[in-house]
Subunit: 193 residues, 2 copies
DNA sequence: CGCGACGTTGATTTGCCTCAACGATTGTGG
DNA sequence: CCACAATCGTTGAGGCAAATCAACGTCGCG
């Protein structure tokens, strides 16, 4: 029997019993474009696996500007990690918005922790993911320190071609930390080369 | 018996046997100011626990400028995480320099992975650390997107008072992503308030 | 003492932002 | 299916924060 579980854990092999056990902790969620998975101030207890569609995590600063932290497409996991993983649990500081109709699977962080304790292969999977993310974060910080807006944009469309198709330019701008006007000028410049 | 191991794992309790087993995988390292723990191009196999002193991780961009990714003081762990945790293992892209005489304990990533497999409490410890770091990274990216150089500086000296004492201003500047001149002007501005 | 490393200051430049206006594209109700 | 509105993207003018370039104090150390 094939299951969403095997997709979530990158084709890891499970027994029928394990599959049913894990399945019981999952909840399927359908979202439409513009729906919010999470809004600022809400309590955060869950993590979400994206089976299809596209979401973005952003927060709004004191001047009202949006800043995009992360996009998530098929195969990715998302949540408000600041609230969920921070040393002291806080309410959500960000918004997670559906930007392309999506199908998600939700599991509570508590249940996920239990799975990690009960099943070493899940624990290893989680560690591997976190380590990869760790490296990716270092790379992103390093890029932010080093590259010009234009270079960061070129980098983005090269690194995330799947995401580029789903998102608006102003989403990309807010991810890169620039204004839509600047991005527009950058795109013109690139087109003229 | 008290051991460096209990310090490394935040007062976790171990049996005498466990302590000796783990001790066998550790190597003590002493570094003096200006020594390098790691240089660009070297192979990376180990992670390092800082028992004392201060280190900084930086890399040099194509124009020769230094960018500081991370400082590390007592109680922290460090390595070139891009090389060590990245999906494909690469040689080091950064330098880790001792900026205050230091005592470290080295353990290979392979051995650490073995410990995680053999000892669930180590696995949980590792996951907890990675998750906290994950949240911290999100916060740092968010700050970089939001705050002015002056705000980031004030934030830095508030968040890391222990580090501030050990590092030069130009280290802080390269951590914040600004020039030493700009930092100097910011400090003057703050002093005059 | 004298040298090198570090920090400061000033003048100028630059990359990106802000504000304002105007096309282009998308979506929706009649 | 069209008409119109809303959303999104582009362009221009002007401004500002931080970079660059250059010079000069200051501190610590051989």
């Amino acid at each position: 029997m094939t299951s969403i579980i095997t997709e979530m854990f990158r084709n890891m092999v499970f027994t029928e019993h394990e599959l049913q056990y894990m399945q019981g902790k999952l909840k399927k969620i359908r979202l439409q474009k513009k729906d919010f998975l999470l809004q600022e101030g809400e309590e955060v207890h869950d993590i979400y696996y994206i089976h299809d569609g596209c979401l973005r995590t952003y927060f709004i600063d004191t001047t009202g500007k949006e800043h995009t932290l992360q996009f998530a497409v098929k195969g990715w996991w998302t949540s408000d990690y600041i609230a969920l993983f921070g040393r002291e649990r806080t309410k959500s500081v960000s918004y997670i918005e559906c930007i392309k109709d999506a199908v998600l699977y939700q599991i509570s962080k508590d249940d996920f922790d239990i799975l990690c304790d009960e099943m070493p292969k899940i624990s290893r999977f989680h560690i591997k993911n976190l380590e990869s993310a760790f490296a990716a974060f270092h790379r992103r910080i390093l890029e932010n320190l080093t590259l010009s807006a234009k270079e960061r944009y070129l980098n983005f469309i090269k690194s995330y071609p799947t995401i580029e198709q789903n998102v608006k330019n102003y989403h990309i701008a807010s991810f890169l930390g620039i204004t839509t006007e600047s991005l527009s000028r950058i795109r013109r410049e690139i087109a003229s080369e």
